[in-house]
């Protein structure tokens, strides 16, 4: 019973769990057993179930489907990730600073043309780097200089290079590139290749041979050099040891140094005449602890070069066998081409052969020469030698040939890495040999059918051919790698002397004469007299009666002056020009001693009668005259009387008031004075322009040219303009009076205008033209007529002042009081009202604008602030209850 009682209570408590499916199997059995047994509990169960159904029905549409979680997660994933509040604040602050900086920079650039603090920083950084370097270089070199040559004559720090570095130092990415560039820059003048400059092997054709301790010094760079600071090879002599210690002690492992030893071509003394330079290759900031800055491919090349140089320095100078290649597997073919211009091909070849004979393992492979059309030989010599001697051989060759006066034209030394091809071929060969061995084995054992054996034999044949081919290739590579090939092109210098020197002379004369035909006859006779040769003799008459004759003749040089004398007697020589041309024939170089071959003198004579020639001096005159027509006729007549020549004469009468005329004419020199007098009578000169024929023109000073323009006085601009504004009582009467006054002073009115304005005021405008002399008096009279409001007097300086000059008077007359006073009536009110309204509007607009200027940024920042913090700070943190 107690158990049942317990069951009963238990079910009471767990009925809901039972309904929800929260009981395990035993409990369910127990519950069901009790429910079946206890009616009370059964009822309770029915009630609970009923409630359940009721609720389920009621909230059927509220039940989320099974995909709720998936949906929620998917939407969560697609939601933008927002950073934490403080992170966003930092980001916003950083953005603000960036924007601010940007603004500052923009302003700085706009106002100062640069970013001052940035500039300062850059120069400071560099200076910090440069100063110790500079002092280091100075002390080092003076010490080294004294060790080697007794004393250093000068220590030059290549400021330019440092400046160059200055410019590039900011560009960190290009540091490496810069280093490489500098290597090229420091190559010795005289076309040493960068590769040699790298080796620091001084050796220019003009320089003395580099040997002894110097050579040792040069050798040092083999291991030092650029890209490997602080890893200089051990020095090989006492002198360089000193140099080395100096450098080793001072080299900053973060900086790259490029050490050059450059022969100074100007000084021939050994030792004292070398130029040393340390060019720091900037490396700011230090990037890696080992200081290696060289790009990988460059590094590889350096390694190769260094290796070679080491070998060379040791092998050549110490007389010991070259060290084995640093990487025996590396197969590099080195070839070179070099071209010289030499005095003698054969001598040069002999020298080359001698030099190659001295190289261990070197030999002449081929010689080829051909004679050219100019009698000179050109050809080439091909020599081969172990690659480690190539560089030294090229240097020796250049030095030796330079002694013989040869010029280096081009030099090209290249290397080709065939390691890949070589190893490929070698491994193919190994594979092929294996196949071959296998085939041989098959044939030897003789198993299988006959046709298989035959097939194997055939196969063996093809494989053997392949093997042969590959072995050949390997041999070729080994040959090419073990010996470098240098092709030396030799070209003999050309003979450049000239073969002949010819002197040609020409004389051009122009003679003015009265009778051209007679003069021409006389000239022809003179040609014959002086044993000359007449080439051309023309005579022609132009439409205007001018006669012109042209005569060309060759006269022996001896008779040249006499013939010229004879010609001058024919008339007036207006132009005479002599030319002498000396030409060399053949060759292109220096002129050797040659006797000039003087040819006959060519005379080119032009004979002219004087009419044909234009005057040397001429004048253009603008004249003002009262009566153009009469003076025009008068001038024409006078010119003809004075034996002048009228070229053009035009008269323009289109406007009877303003007649103009143009006259262009010449008068003989002797009558010029008479004509000038007449011109002075005609009228005052407004403008005078004198001109002279250019020297090259055909012109005579026997006559004088004129171009006269006659202007009516009316056309001439006024000398003076007077504008007056006068207030008078009776406009009409006074206007009439003024016009009358002007007329009595020989003036004329050109414009009279009068009007009445809306206020009922009369006004008038008078424009008058009066003689200048009368103008002052008139102005005074006019001014006496009323109250002067303003007066303006403008002279025109371009118009000459003479008896024909005029003045322009512009008089404005205004009447006295208008019907309606100026500042009264409706218009005054309106004006004031509009002005007041305008003022108020402007004030209000000013206030509004000022407010906006203050408020808009504030509002903007407030909005930004809310956007940044508002959502996160105010909403994300849950409120405590």
């Amino acid at each position: 019973m107690g158990d049942a009682m317990n069951d009963h209570e238990w079910l009471h408590e767990n009925l809901d769990a039972y309904l929800a499916g929260g009981l395990d199997l035993d409990e369910r059995v127990r519950a069901e057993a009790h429910l079946a047994a206890c009616a009370d509990c059964g009822h309770l169960h029915q009630n609970a179930k009923g409630l359940e159904t009721y609720m389920a029905n009621l909230f059927a549409d509220a039940r989320p489907d099974s995909a709720l979680e998936d949906r929620v997660v998917a939407r969560l994933r697609s939601a933008p990730v927002r950073r934490a509040g403080w992170l966003r604040f930092v980001a916003a602050a950083a953005a603000m600073i960036v924007v601010g900086l940007l603004g500052g920079i923009v302003q700085a650039v706009a106002l100062e043309g640069g970013v001052p603090f940035l500039k300062l920083e850059r120069s400071m950084t560099l200076r910090n780097h440069l100063t110790p370097l500079r002092t280091d270089a100075q002390t080092t070199f003076s010490r080294v200089g004294s060790t080697i040559g007794g004393k250093a004559k000068e220590v030059v720090i290549d400021e330019h290079a440092i400046k160059g570095a200055d410019n590039k130092a900011l560009d960190f990415d290009k540091d490496i590139q810069y280093g490489v560039n500098r290597i090229e820059d420091v190559s010795v003048p005289g076309a040493l290749k960068p590769s040699e400059a790298l080796g620091f092997q001084g050796g220019d054709k003009q320089a003395p041979p580099v040997n002894g301790p110097m050579q040792q010094g040069l050798g040092l760079a083999g291991g030092g050099g650029f890209g490997k600071p602080g890893k200089l090879t051990p020095p090989r002599s006492e002198v360089t040891k000193g140099f080395f210690n100096e450098l080793n002690g001072r080299i900053d492992p973060h900086d790259l140094y490029n050490i050059t030893v450059r022969p100074d071509s100007g000084k021939k003394q050994l030792g004292a005449s070398y130029f040393y330079g340390v060019t720091p290759i900037f490396n700011i900031p230090p990037k890696k602890s080992d200081g290696r800055q060289v790009p990988k491919n460059q590094e590889a090349k350096d390694k190769e070069k260094e290796g070679l140089k080491n070998n060379l320095a040791l092998g050549k100078k110490k007389g010991i066998q070259p060290e084995p290649e640093p990487d025996p597997g590396l197969k590099i073919i080195r070839t070179g081409e070099i071209e010289f211009q030499v005095e003698s091909f054969d001598d040069a070849v002999a020298r080359v052969v001698k030099l190659i004979g001295a190289v261990k393992g070197g030999f002449k492979l081929k010689e080829d020469s051909s004679k050219q059309t100019n009698g000179k030989t050109r050809g080439f010599v091909v020599v081969r030698m172990p690659p480690q001697f190539l560089d030294q051989f090229v240097l020796d060759l250049r030095r030796e040939l330079a002694k013989m006066g040869a010029d280096l034209r081009t030099q090209k030394i290249g290397s080709q890495d065939v390691t890949k091809q070589y190893t490929d071929t070698a491994s193919e060969l190994r594979a092929a040999r294996a196949v071959e061995g296998r085939l041989i084995e098959i044939i030897k054992t003789g198993k299988g059918e006959v046709k298989d054996l035959i097939a194997a034999e055939r196969e063996l044949g093809t494989w053997r051919i392949k093997i042969e081919k590959m072995e050949g290739e390997i041999r070729y590579y080994n040959n090419q790698v073990s010996l470098s090939t240098l092709t030396i092109q030799l070209v003999e210098k050309e003979i450049e002397a000239a073969s002949a020197l010819v002197v040609n002379s020409t004389v051009q004369m122009r003679i003015e004469t009265e009778d051209v035909s007679k003069a021409r006859k006389a000239a022809e006779k003179a040609v014959a007299d002086f044993k000359g040769r007449l080439i051309k003799s023309d005579e022609k008459q132009h439409a205007a009666g001018q006669i012109e004759a042209i005569l060309h003749a060759d006269i022996p040089p001896a008779n040249k002056d006499a013939f010229k004398q004879a010609l001058t007697k024919l008339g007036i020589v207006s132009a005479s020009q002599a030319m002498q041309a000396q030409t060399t024939q053949g060759g292109s170089g220096r002129v050797l001693k040659l006797t000039p071959q003087v040819k006959d003198v060519r005379f080119e004579v032009t004979l002219m009668n004087i009419v044909n020639i234009m005057p040397k001096y001429s004048v253009t005159l603008d004249l003002a005259t009262a009566d153009v027509s009469a003076n025009f006729v008068k001038l024409k007549d006078e010119i003809l009387r004075l034996q002048g020549q009228v070229r053009t004469a035009t008269k323009n009468e289109a406007n009877p008031e303003k007649v103009t005329a143009q006259l262009s004419f010449n008068v003989p020199k002797e009558h010029k004075a008479a004509l000038d007098k007449l011109l002075a009578e005609v009228g005052p000169v407004l403008k005078r322009e004198a001109s002279q024929a250019t020297v090259t023109d055909v012109a005579t000073d026997q006559k004088f040219g004129y171009a006269v323009n006659l202007y009516s006085v009316a056309v001439i601009a006024p000398r003076e303009t007077v504008t007056m504004h006068i207030e008078v009582t009776d406009v009409d009467a006074i206007a009439a009076e003024m016009l009358a006054m002007a007329r009595t002073s020989k003036g004329q009115a050109s414009k009279v205008k009068s009007k009445i304005d809306p206020q009922g005021r009369r006004s008038a405008k008078l424009v008058m033209r009066v003689p200048l002399a009368a103008s002052d008096a008139l102005v005074k009279q006019f001014m006496a007529q009323g109250k002067i409001i303003d007066k303006d007097q403008t002279p025109n300086p371009q118009i000459p002042e003479n008896e024909l000059s005029t003045a322009h008077l512009v008089v404005e007359l205004t009447g006295g009081d208008p019907i309606v006073p100026r500042d009264e009536g409706m218009s005054g009110y309106m004006r004031r009202s509009i002005y007041l309204g305008y003022t108020i509007l402007v004030v209000i607009m000013t206030f509004v604008l000022t407010g906006l200027i203050v408020l808009v940024p504030c509002g903007f920042f407030a909005w930004v602030g809310y956007k940044i913090f508002g959502s996160s700070v105010f909403r994300c943190t849950p409120r405590r209850k």
Partner: protein, 185 residues
Amino acid sequence: MMEPDNTLVQRAQAGDRAAFELLVRRTSRLVYARLYVEVGDTHHAEDLLQETLLTAFRTLKQLQNPDKFRAWLLRIAQNVVIDAARRDGRKKRTPVLALHQSEPTTPEPSEILEREETKQQVLAILRTLPDEYRLPLVLRHIVGADYETIQTQMGLTNGALRGLLHRGMEHLRVAMHEALGEDYI
């Protein structure tokens, strides 16, 4: 073996999104239940659920005690509901009280109207219950979750849930009886 909630919370706090998603799966029905009781509308509740979870995700690091994740989450949900009510109130210029569905403007069959009224009554009753009793009930009868789901969503052991369910039902039965009489059966 299911990973306990508090380690999941820690992982999520360290930036593990997958852990957070797992937590979401374990709690979204609970939050939904909570929100539904407040707003009485499925879609609205789901939207608010989304908002709650998003807010939780963003501010997860502010949660000091990982064991109180559910309480914290429900508090966020509460705030979200308040915010939403305020927003809606602002939008409609109606008092905050208009939390629940506005009355339909078109005339509805009286049965549906009545049903709606009953629903609101039940929800009002549920809202009077303490959280710990209310949530299992809502999960059970409104969300329609089975026992195991309720257990997971509440983060409770079987025994603890039994007690809560039993006492909650007692409360509900009494309250419903008072409010609706016998006719709900």
